[in-house]
């Protein structure tokens, strides 16, 4: 399929494909096995300017949009979603600053993120506040010229690896969801530390850790936007980032199809390559068709968002929901095509199947995506009455 990408977008795709083939594929199994953060690869991505992809040019980035991000993330994910998660999480941490930060915050932090000098992370989830983000307990109190943060965040991608954290905390409990605010916390801030590092089913090259705030003092100019804007910041951030998760799913599923199709062409049973059995060929046909549908959706939504559209919540949720469910299905089928081989660690598809699961869970479970889409439908059809 030709998606009529610009010369620049093709350049991004080819460069990411080169890095994926040369740097990521040879080490992905080892990174997964050892649950090791891919520092060398992150450095190569920084040298390739990829951390600047969506950062505006005035802050040292390339000024790309959602589609450029999706193209890059898709290619990296084709080789390893653990690596692409580590990479993409830096943009997730950057979005609150990019969307709502002051000029000072942007020039100070975005420039460091663009060069890859610092990675970023986004911290919302807590032990008792997952899908119900309004239940967060972490507090920020303004005392003199400082905010003092207390509480802990759970399952934070890049926790401990990032230098810059966008953190959502409650500033006024009496106001409910309007009482949350977003802050920038730096790795060296007093009272800030990382706790438990999680052991995961998949995306094991990425780091997932607990963040602990114990009388963590930050200057008051670290507030993003204004007090009470925390959930707006979080929701707008997710609106922007969700197609990127869809792109991860498309890349992952494509990687699984690559493996399954190549295997089916060479694996012989009953004296012929198994791709010549209709049962197998039809599985591959369905996989390929679903991947193309997922890619078409992600690219269309990304282009729509880049056009400056405001009503993006529904389509952004769709661009996460469909491809991630698709990737779970396709990677499962890939394991099936490889049969016993697919179940063994000698082949990459079992890792792909493990990696796929989290895509249906993080950045809003797929049930939450359906809620978002359902609410938007309700509003849309309500307006017609």
């Amino acid at each position: 399929m030709d998606y009529f990408l610009s010369e620049e977008q093709i350049m991004i795709r080819d460069l990411c494909r080169q890095i994926a083939e040369e740097r990521i594929k040879p080490v992905r199994a080892e990174l997964d096995e050892k649950e090791e953060f891919p520092r060398e690869i992150m450095k190569a991505l920084a040298q390739a300017d990829l951390y600047g992809l969506i950062i505006p040019e005035q802050y040292g980035g390339l000024g790309g949009g959602c589609l450029e991000n999706c193209i890059a993330v898709e290619e990296l994910s084709r080789a390893c979603v653990g690596v692409s998660t580590s990479f993409a999480a830096s943009f997730l941490g950057a979005y609150p600053i990019l969307l709502f930060g002051s000029e000072d915050q942007k020039s100070r932090y975005l420039s460091q993120i663009a060069t890859g000098e610092q990675m970023a992370a986004f911290a919302l989830t807590e032990s008792a506040a997952g899908s119900d983000a309004g239940a967060i307990q972490t507090q920020a109190k303004l005392v003199g010229g400082e905010y003092i943060l207390n509480g802990s965040k759970q399952w934070i991608t890049n926790g401990g690896e990032a230098g810059i954290y966008s953190v959502i905390a409650i500033t006024d409990r009496s106001k409910g969801p309007r009482g949350a605010s977003a802050f920038i916390v730096e790795a060296g801030d007093p009272g800030f530390s990382t706790g438990k590092k999680e052991v995961k089913m998949g995306i094991r090259a990425s780091t997932t850790a607990e963040l602990i705030f114990h009388d963590c003092r930050i200057p008051k100019d670290r507030l993003i936007g204004r007090e009470g804007l925390g959930f707006v910041v979080a929701m707008r951030t997710f609106d922007k980032s969700r197609p990127g998760v869809g792109a991860q799913a498309v890349g992952l599923a494509q990687g699984a199809l690559d493996e399954a199709a190549a295997f089916a062409r060479t694996r012989k049973q009953f004296d012929k390559p198994i791709i010549n059995f209709q049962a197998v060929a039809h599985m591959l046909a369905d996989m390929a068709t679903k991947i193309e549908a997922g890619r078409a959706l992600v690219y269309s939504v990304a282009r729509y968002m880049d056009s400056g559209a405001k009503d993006i919540s529904k389509v952004s949720a769709m661009a996460k929901l469909f491809p991630t469910d698709m990737a779970m299905d396709v990677t499962t089928q890939a394991v099936q095509v490889l049969g016993g081989h697919g179940y063994m660690r000698d082949y990459p598809v079992e890792k792909m199947m493990r990696d796929a699961k989290v895509l249906q869970i993080y950045e809003g479970t797929n049930q939450i995506q359906r809620n978002v889409i359902g609410q938007e439908l309700n509003k849309e059809y309500g307006r017609r009455d």
């Binding site: 620049e8 460069l15 080169q18 890095i19 040369e22 390739a48 992809l53 390339l62």
Partner: protein
């Protein structure tokens, strides 16, 4: 620090074959790439620039299409390039090549450090780096695998030898040739590639460089390649039938006898 990296565009040797009739390299349909060892030279230059700042220029000699190699280097974040291109340069051996490259270095205003790959994968002579240093009257260290010290007036480098590593102090300006251990080449950068797309590679011919036709190309060469041929495959084979350990030892004996490998002391 101003660094000049010398690059050669070569056929992608992973895919090159000899024409069995003419014994020449079959270049049709074979992609041209930057000599892989020169990518190590480029990586060394990029690391030095990160460490002490400065500028990197790349220099190449070749047909007009070798400008692609310079553009590719721009994609890695190199500052400027120069391609020496002239019909008169054709057929140059390493002697005539260094004459042109030395003139190119002078035209670029010289450098604190010149870095070359240890050899090109098509000619495999490993002479151009040292020859260029001789032409320019510069001190040189070949087979450099890294450096311990970078100062304004000198470099302390590690030279890879068969039996160990020499640590050598190289006064600057000087020239090094590098081996693969100097560091894995990084991927190109997006900003670099975008700049490369628009970059117009400056070119210089013999006249501009102040060289006569007698000094360069085939006319300026002391050696001529008379014939290139692939070694005949004899088709002979010998099976070693012995228990694994003993078979291994026998294989080593054969390889040593035929001087394919040498055992360390």
């Amino acid at each position: 620090m101003k660094i000049i990296v010398c690059l050669k565009q070569v056929p992608d040797t992973a895919h090159v074959k000899l024409d069995p009739v003419t014994h020449t390299l079959k270049r049709e349909g074979v992609a041209a790439i930057i000599n892989p060892f020169d990518l190590f030279a480029l990586e060394a230059a990029l690391r030095l620039r990160e460490q002490v700042g400065g500028a990197i220029h790349v220099l190449s000699m070749g047909p007009p299409q070798a400008a692609e190699a310079i553009k590719e280097a721009i994609g890695y974040g190199v500052d400027e390039g120069l391609l020496l291109s002239d019909r008169a340069f054709a057929g140059a051996d390493t002697w005539a090549t260094t004459a042109a490259l030395a003139a190119g270095v002078r035209r670029m205003g010289g450098a604190d450090l010149i870095i070359c790959g240890k050899q090109a994968v098509d000619g495999d002579t490993a002479q151009v780096g040292p020859g260029l240093a001789m032409r320019l009257g510069l001190p040189q260290v070949a087979f450099v695998k890294g450096w311990r010290e970078v100062a304004a007036g000198h470099l302390v480098v590690e030279r890879q030898m068969d039996d160990g590593v020499d640590v050598v102090r190289l006064p600057l300006p000087g020239l090094i040739t590098v081996v693969r251990e100097v560091g894995e080449p990084r991927p190109p950068s997006l900003k670099g590639k975008m700049r490369a797309k628009k970059y117009e590679v400056p070119m210089a011919g013999a006249a501009v460089l102040g060289l006569t036709e007698a000094q360069v190309g085939l006319a300026g060469s002391f050696t001529q390649v008379v014939e290139v041929f692939a070694p005949q495959a004899s088709g002979q084979r010998q099976m070693i039938e012995a228990p694994a350990q003993e078979a291994g030892r026998l294989v080593v004996d054969y390889l040593v006898r035929d001087q394919i490998i040498r055992l360390g002391s």
